[in-house]
């Protein structure tokens, strides 16, 4: 590791503490400077020399990267321009961060907030605005110390304080560089404190004492790490393999040898271990992969949770970058639809719906599992929902096939259509059109990448609507809770629904539902006000605002029958995450529900749990949370959000499930626990389990701004 390219570097590497206490520090800091502008390059070089740093400059990012690779320990810090012709500065930033884990400072003449934000979110440890002043460069060594500190096992004696400096520093990197530098230039200790505080701000537990040996993530160690991560989420995420081709990986054309000593996240390693992008994606979604558990699984002596946490953070960051890039490239939809594994998202989506719909506790795990499996197997199933809504009752009974009324039709449906499964939970009293609407909505969800919210809303609306229709009493409930939203305006959903690729005829039939949907369709405000999930538009509304609304609605709809809340949430999450369009469709889908994303097998409790916790946690957070919930839902199997186990009764006369049950979950939902109501051990345990894990489901999709480590339990 310590190649000892220079005496100063050797000491720098081997013991930062020694180095730091060295009088000469930070002289000799080895800086790699990358800028395509020859004027700036020369000026910065001179400035850095004035700071007594060792400067290596390059006007090409590719050259710089190969320099770094050749000599992984030859540099302490990288300063790079953002706009470069051969490689985007952010790309370089990612490469460096992952491969060499060096601090990278971005700079640009562009001071627009979004670019600065991009730099920060990409992991730049600082962002300098040109023209760069020498004062700004004088303190870049702080970043090196900080980085190294994170490598060390943490010490408990860090100081907890919320330093304004830190806060400012985080938010206004370039400005504060100057302030902080002038403030701390002569005061190393205070800088150290600031760094410690910043560490905490950055979600790092302890500060290192700089005395302990640096943890080197060797190939084996990283492999163990990845295995542990996979293992933790393996049951849930195994189905999440997507064939995303990461363009950034593609850029890496030269076959880089598997981890040289000291390297950390070589792309090859990621590929090897993960078998390609698939694993990359998957890892980003694993909710259970929390540092503590990873650490336990790895069982490496001397490794601390903090080591794992920082490693995990980097890894997630990397995965996020890759997934966001690949998302652009392939589109979530494609991945989802195109691959069985992709139905994970759909599964989750459907599962949630199913759960919501299914009578709490009434849906046998088996059927859920079947549904989920079916959902998984289902790929682009938009057309699946073709079941004609012949008879409401039939549909419902159709929907409950597994549950209670095994009928030929139902069986078929169940077998063929995950959606049918979804309907298991749907009270059979739900009108076909409602189901259809739901189905359609879910379909539209699927169609709409990550558009969950609007869809979800719709689905919820549909679900609620359906329940209402089915059960007057429930309708009353709904009405009460929904503030009258439940009233059904003439449905005109058919169009929007069908536009989503959902069966047209279904839509037509579901006139009421559609009207409901329409009603909700642009009624974001209403949603908010009323908290009525019904007010969501079916037609793939993919407005983020609706998502927001949904969240608030969910909150607001606490008073609503649980089912609605859950539906909403489920739908939202689903649509958010996976853009599944079948949420609604599963419901109404009456028959074909093949398009229903097979989420049935997702444990409802888990999903709901997740959703609840996420909703609770995030309240208004839009997609990211919801998606989290969904993904967790996926993994946890079917969690029936409907807490109202006891309430789920077969309506005499058979096929009708008590819609009420759907709505039951509210209380339990709100409590994030459906244990009693559900009366399902698996649900309860799933819920509990989810809660334990903090319900942190990360989705690679639409992860914007989500900080992977934020939710990691400490």
């Amino acid at each position: 590791m310590n190649l000892g390219t220079a005496s100063s570097s050797v000491s720098w590497q081997s013991s930062t503490n020694d180095r730091v206490s060295d009088m000469q520090f930070p002289a000799g800091l080895r800086v790699l400077l990358v800028d395509d502008d020859p004027t700036c390059l020369r000026i910065l070089e001179q400035m850095l020399r004035k700071c007594h740093y060792e400067v290596t400059k390059s006007n090409r990012a590719e050259i710089a990267l190969s320099m770094l690779r050749e000599n992984r320990n030859g540099f302490d810090i990288v300063i790079s321009d953002v706009h470069m012709p051969d490689m985007n500065g952010f790309k370089l930033l990612e490469h460096v961060g992952l491969e060499m884990d060096l601090p990278v400072i971005m700079m640009s003449a562009d001071d627009s907030k979004d670019v600065v934000m991009k730099g920060v979110t990409h992991g730049a440890c600082d962002y300098l605005i040109k023209p760069v002043r020498i004062e700004a460069l004088k303190n870049i060594w702080q970043h090196v110390i900080r980085k190294k500190k994170h490598e060390f096992p943490k010490d408990k004696d860090f100081e907890q304080s919320t330093s304004l400096e830190d806060g400012d520093r985080q938010q206004k990197p370039q400005d504060d560089v100057d302030y902080s530098s002038s403030a701390n230039e002569g005061n190393w200790k205070s800088s150290k404190k600031r760094k410690e505080e910043e560490d905490e701000n950055e979600d790092r537990d302890d500060t290192s004492t700089l005395k302990k040996p640096r943890v080197v993530w060797s190939v084996e160690l990283h492999q163990q790490f990845v295995q542990a991560v996979n293992q933790l989420g393996i049951d849930k995420s195994k189905t999440l393999l997507f064939l995303h081709i990461c363009p950034s990986l593609g850029e890496h054309s030269d076959p880089v040898p598997v981890l040289a000593e000291g390297s950390r996240y070589p792309f090859e390693l990621v590929e090897i271990i993960c078998g390609g992008m698939k694993w990359v994606e998957m890892l980003g979604i694993i909710p259970e992969a929390v540092p503590k558990k990873i650490l336990e699984l790895m069982n490496v002596p001397g490794l601390t949770r903090e080591n794992v946490a920082s490693h995990l953070q980097k890894y997630r960051l990397y995965l996020r970058r890759l997934s966001s890039v690949s998302q652009h490239q392939s589109g979530l939809n494609n991945s989802f639809m195109g691959h069985p594994e992709a139905t994970y998202g759909m599964s989750s989506f459907n599962g949630l719906e199913l759960q919501a719909l299914a009578a709490t506790g009434q849906l046998p795990a088996q059927s859920l599992a079947t549904l989920q499996a079916a959902a998984l197997g289902r790929s682009a199933t938009k057309s699946a929902i073709s079941m004609p809504l012949v008879d409401q009752r039939n549909i419902f009974s159709f929907e409950n096939p597994k549950l209670r009324f095994p009928e030929g039709q139902q069986q078929q449906l169940n077998n063929s259509n995950k959606q049918i499964n979804l309907l298991h939970g749907i009270p059979t009293t739900m009108e076909p059109k409602q189901l259809a609407d739901l189905h359609q909505s879910s379909q539209s969800f699927v169609a709409m990448n990550m558009q969950g919210n609007p869809r979800m809303q719709q689905n919820n609306a549909l679900l609620m609507h359906m329940s209402q229709q089915q059960h007057p009493s429930r309708a009353q409930m709904l009405n009460e809770t929904n503030n009258g939203q439940v009233s059904r305006p003439p449905l005109s959903i058919s169009q929007p629904l069908s536009s989503n690729g959902i069966r047209g005829p279904v839509y037509n039939q579901v006139s009421q539902a559609s009207s409901m949907v329409d009603f909700s369709l642009n009624q974001n405000s209403e949603l908010q006000n009323n908290g009525s999930p019904l007010v969501r538009s079916n037609s793939g509304m993919s407005t983020l605002t609706s998502k927001r609304i949904i969240s608030s609605d969910i909150k607001g709809s606490r008073g609503f029958p649980p089912g609605y809340d859950i539906f909403e949430e489920l739908h939202q999450q689903k649509s958010q995450d996976w853009g599944l369009t079948n949420v609604g469709s599963t419901f109404g889908a009456s028959t074909d529900h093949s398009s229903i994303p097979g989420t049935l097998d997702v444990s409802p409790s888990m999903l709901v749990q997740q959703g609840i916790s996420s909703i609770k946690k995030n309240g208004q957070n839009g997609n990211s949370h919801i998606s989290k919930v969904f993904s967790s839902r996926e993994e946890s199997g079917n969690v029936h959000p409907m807490g109202g186990g006891p309430q789920l009764n077969l309506i005499p006369g058979g096929n009708l499930l008590n819609v009420k049950s759907e709505q039951l979950p509210d209380t339990s939902y709100q409590n994030t626990f459906f244990p009693d109501q559900f009366g399902q051990d698996d649900l309860m345990s799933a819920l509990l389990k989810q809660q334990e894990s903090g319900g942190q489901v990360e989705t690679d999709f639409g992860f914007d701004g989500y900080s992977p480590l934020d939710n990691l339990p400490v």
């Binding site: 395509d36 502008d37 020859p38 004027t39 700036c40 020369r42 000026i43 001179q46 400035m47 020399r49 004035k50 321009d81 706009h83 640009s108 003449a109 562009d110 040109k130 023209p131 760069v132 002043r133 020498i134």
Partner: protein
């Protein structure tokens, strides 16, 4: 001319350049970076700036001359010019870049051409000024004097 006079002229000239906004504080930074190990640092950097700017201005002229103007490319050039001009302290050149970028955003070729014209003018002006400054410096050095620092 005797050294003292040369030096006074130099200071006056430099002060006027700052006053008129041709140069800003960044240029002073460059002067401070010059030392014994890099005695010609300022001239070196400014020469780099001239080269780079002329290249960019040519690229800009060509880019705006296209039937289908690639505004992204134009913007990239302007951005680069902004970076380098701000780094050497060529304030007026840098100030031309902001409206230029706005014109690029609006995809207004006419406006861009006007901006280009203006920026060319400013560039030539500052180039002229700096060359005069350097000549004065050389004269001072040739006359055995030291170059005064001007803030």
């Amino acid at each position: 001319m005797e050294v003292g006079q040369l030096q006074r002229s130099f200071v006056e000239y430099m002060t006027s350049l700052f006053r008129e906004g041709f140069l800003d504080a960044q240029f002073s930074q460059l002067q401070q970076l010059q030392d014994d190990s890099n005695p010609d640092f300022v001239v070196e950097v400014v020469s780099l700036f001239f080269e780079d700017s002329e290249r960019l201005l040519n690229d800009l002229t060509m880019a705006l001359d296209q039937p289908n103007v690639d505004f992204k490319q134009v913007d990239a050039h302007v951005h680069q010019l902004k970076g380098s001009s701000s780094s050497v302290g060529a304030q007026r050149v840098k100030n031309c870049c902001v409206p230029f970028r706005n014109c690029c955003e609006e995809q207004n070729t006419e406006a861009c051409l006007r901006c280009l014209q203006q920026i060319k003018q400013e560039y030539l002006l500052v180039k002229n000024k700096l060359q005069t400054l350097f000549e004065l410096e050389q004269q001072i050095v040739a006359a055995g004097g030291a170059i005064p620092m001007v803030q």
